[in-house]
């Protein structure tokens, strides 16, 4: 996008461009202030020693890497379930003709915004009955349930853009829908799968509610959950406070890296999954 055409017209005068640059830079600095304040506190008292001590003497006895690993393992369950449900459902809603298709689709996406806290009571009961406390399945499944409506929407939107003729040829050749789905649709849908994959991991890293309620064993603690559990494991002394800030910086690391490197997939996934045409 050049500065001359399109929206570049807005800042074609030098004075306007200066103002725009200053405003953006000032806003960005404001946005970086919290990160800077956390870093500054993390380096208080012992400097980098705060980070080192987190490895030699983990907070609450849980090494940071273990919380990353737990988030990733939950993410694997989360992703597997979401893909396993959304891919065939997206194909059915986008490419199959059957009675009540639209009604069923809209009924499905009505659940896009179910707040996790609102189904906390029943899911506590379900998790208890199935004996899934302190398991990756017990966290990954509720995460997946909340993501499935979005996944179905994303896959249906994607299926809508796959030309019918591409799949028809296979169906007419007698391949049947199951084969058309596995041999043609799934490979074609790879970009959507990658987007959904990255987002599921991101949401698992973000998830605070389910781990906090369903994990009672320290060794199952996830990265987002550790924000609270580490705090409880510390005293109010300046040293501990600095160590806690250091742990916050480290806990942010995987999510920040995922967002920075997966930005393309997240952006394209979220924008194509918005309910709009």
């Amino acid at each position: 996008m050049s500065a001359r055409g399109g929206f570049g017209l807005l800042i074609r005068r030098r004075r306007d461009r200066r103002i725009a640059q200053v405003m953006l830079a000032a806003t960005a600095l404001l946005w970086l202030f919290p990160a800077w304040s956390a870093l500054r506190e993390a380096l208080k008292v012992d400097g980098l020693g705060n980070f080192v001590s987190l490895f030699s003497n983990p907070l609450g006895g849980i090494p940071i890497w273990r919380t990353y690993l737990n988030s990733v393992l939950n993410g694997i369950v989360h992703t597997a379930v979401v893909l396993g449900v959304s891919l065939p459902a997206g194909y059915a809603f986008g490419k199959l003709r059957f009675r009540g298709r639209e009604t069923l689709f809209y009924a499905t996406i009505l659940f896009l915004a179910i707040p996790g806290t609102a189904i906390l009571v029943p899911l506590y009961h379900v998790t208890q009955e199935l004996g899934l406390f302190n398991t990756h399945l017990g966290i990954g499944l509720p995460e997946a349930a909340l993501t499935v409506p979005f996944g179905v929407l994303l896959m249906r939107n994607y299926a809508d853009n796959v030309p019918d003729t591409l799949l028809e040829a296979a169906v007419v050749d007698g391949a049947g829908h199951l084969q058309t789905f596995t041999r043609i649709f799934v490979p074609i849908a790879r970009p959507a799968i990658v987007n959904l994959f990255v987002m599921c991991f991101m949401w698992s890293l973000q998830d605070f509610l389910w781990p906090t309620v369903f994990n009672t064993h320290p060794e199952m603690t996830t990265a987002a959950q550790a924000v609270a559990t580490f705090h409880n494991a510390l005293s109010a002394s300046p040293v501990d406070s600095a160590r806690y800030s250091a742990s916050l910086v480290l806990l942010a690391l995987p999510a920040v890296l995922l967002v920075v490197f997966g930005q393309r997939f997240i952006t394209s996934g979220l924008t194509s999954g918005a309910i709009k045409d």
Partner: protein, 296 residues
């Protein structure tokens, strides 16, 4: 559109079976269980439930804290919508104008919204501590001691602190605007520029109205998101002081995690929240369907 083939209905059932399974267990069963529990007095062990009829709902609707939570939910949503339609929109337009460092800026605004909210909220709450918080320390360092405040324990400031935190998370609206701006026809801008309109005027009177469908997407997404993001409040103000910043998420969470026979009550609250969330979703779907219909 090709014609329907024989047996396609049965194939559809097969392809949708996993979806039905997830919905049956996690949504249908959940709702049924919640409704049942909401008419009882029971603890989280779910044994020895006592039927209490509509009592939980009566208590709930007369509890000022619950009504405050609903009101706050809507106010916080309104605040983040207002910030998004103005600040996020302006940032997206500036980024689209081909200004230098576009990718870096985009990342700076997007990352907070996509990292764990629990973490961002915690960092905020530490930053706003009265004694050691970076904000007050910064103010003291530049001699503005008079401006230091009890950001999290004064009810007015705590309310604004939550709004500030929500404003900090406008990365997603920026993303939606950026995506849709890229698809916008810009020849209208040329005409406006030729007419001698300044950048602000063009942004407000030409581009902003053209982004109507994005405004709707953003508004509905934020409204629905406001019921989900309970960590924002839980880990910044904790709903305090005196429940003044409580939202429905933290309210329900508090009753689910507190000891005692509060689960029936929490279930009744959940049922009401679900009804509201589903109603907003119905509006969202209806708006989208009309748009789809109109554009075909």
């Amino acid at each position: 559109m090709r014609r329907k083939l024989p047996g396609e209905g049965r194939t559809a059932v097969l392809f949708l079976a996993p979806l039905f399974l997830v919905y049956a267990l996690y949504f249908a069963y959940s709702f049924w269980f919640l409704i049942g529990t909401s008419f009882t007095k029971v603890s989280i062990g779910f044994s020895n439930a006592v039927a209490v009829g509509w009592k939980n709902y009566r208590l709930l609707l007369t509890d000022p804290a619950f009504l405050t939570a609903i009101r706050n939910n809507l106010l916080f949503a309104a605040a983040s919508i207002a910030v998004s339609l103005t600040v996020a929109f302006a940032i997206a337009v500036l980024l689209a104008s081909g200004i230098g460092g576009r990718r870096l800026y985009y990342a700076i605004f997007l990352v907070p919204a996509l990292t764990p909210i629990a973490l961002v909220a915690t960092v905020f709450s530490r930053m706003l501590q009265y004694q050691d918080g970076a904000l007050n320390q910064g103010l003291r360092a530049i001699g503005l001691d008079g401006l230091t405040e009890h950001w999290l324990t004064d009810s007015g400031w705590a309310f604004l602190a939550v709004i500030g935190l929500l404003a900090y998370l406008i990365g997603l609206p920026i993303m939606y605007y950026t995506a849709d701006l890229a698809a916008l026809r810009t020849d209208v801008l040329e005409a406006a520029v030729l007419d001698g309109a300044g950048p602000l005027l063009i942004m407000r009177n030409v581009i902003h109205p053209m982004m109507r469908s994005t405004h709707i997407t953003v508004t509905l997404a934020l409204l629905l998101g406001s019921f989900r993001a309970f960590e924002v409040v839980l880990l910044s103000t904790g709903g305090g002081p005196d429940n003044t910043t409580e939202i429905v998420g933290t309210y329900t969470y508090r009753f689910v995690t507190s000891a005692g026979s509060t689960i029936g009550y929490a279930s009744a609250a959940s049922v009401l929240v679900l009804i509201v969330a589903m109603l907003v979703s119905v509006v969202q779907v209806l708006v989208t369907r009309t748009k789809r219909g109109a554009s075909r």
